[in-house]
């Protein structure tokens, strides 16, 4: 179960714990059904609570960017630490996704 909040057209989802391949399929499924249920135009992923992330997280973000783009929406991330930032920059994520403070 993911923690989320919907305000106007923005859906904010907080991820916590370790984001790796073993959990990413379940998270992806939950995110995609939340996006469909709420009809959100903007998906904000709050990553402050993440203790670990590898390239599975990059795939998750790029995948959600595609899902939201198809719906005419967008994705933003917040709470990224130096390490997650490094991973995202490596993959050019910030060309697709806004980085909030």
């Amino acid at each position: 179960m993911l923690c989320y909040e919907k305000k106007k057209n923005a859906l904010t989802v907080r991820l916590s714990g370790e984001l790796d391949h073993s959990v990413v399929t379940a998270i992806r499924g939950e995110l995609d059904s939340l996006i469909a249920q709420t009809g959100a135009k903007k998906l904000i992923l709050d990553l402050k609570g993440l203790e670990f992330m590898d390239s599975s997280g990059i795939g998750l973000i790029i995948g959600r960017y595609k899902v939201m783009s198809r719906r005419g929406g967008s994705v933003a991330v917040s709470g990224t630490d130096a390490r997650i930032d490094q991973l995202f920059r490596m993959a050019g994520i910030y060309q697709l996704v806004e980085r909030l403070a």
């Binding site: 073993s22 390490r83 993959a91």
Partner: protein, 151 residues
């Protein structure tokens, strides 16, 4: 420099063992008194290699993954992840950023790129049907009072 500590671990190719492998490598490198940064670099690289063995090597089928590691008195770690799965036909292509054979699963194709950036050395040996061996090197900067020694 001669090796002063060494470990080997065989585990089944199951997703729940990705976190296990990260825990093991973190514990093994503790005597080197690594920074949080160095520890996270190694954990992330091991996570990538082990995930690849499970996801691509065995592709959901059964098999064992071997994680082995060693370090010398200068703090240089050697880490090896071996599977006996399907292997890679073109290693140079597989190592390119964004190359993936399973885009439908939201794999990013950034695994090898991450290993390369977070470690000091990466070598991949593989052949179709013969499995894959990933060797990585990481130099842990030793603090003056923390030079590990064999008793």
């Amino acid at each position: 420099m001669s090796v002063i500590n060494e470990m080997r671990l065989d585990f089944e190719a199951l997703p729940e063992n990705e976190a296990f492998a990260r825990l093991v490598i973190s514990g093994f490198m503790l005597p080197l008194d690594p920074t949080m940064e160095e520890m996270a670099d190694v954990k992330t690289a091991v996570s990538e290699a082990v995930t690849n063995a499970i996801v691509h090597g065995y592709g959901g089928g059964t098999g064992f993954v071997r994680l082995s590691a060693s370090y010398d008195a200068a703090g240089e770690m050697q880490i090896r992840v071996v599977d006996h799965g399907r292997g890679i036909d073109d290693v140079a292509r597989a190592r390119q950023p964004f190359f993936t054979t399973s885009p439908g699963d939201d794999r990013s194709g950034m695994g090898f790129t991450v290993m390369e950036s977070f470690m000091d050395g990466l070598d991949v040996e593989s052949a179709p049907g013969r499995g894959t061996t990933v060797c990585m090197t990481k130099r842990i900067r030793l603090r003056d009072d923390a030079v590990p020694q064999r008793a």
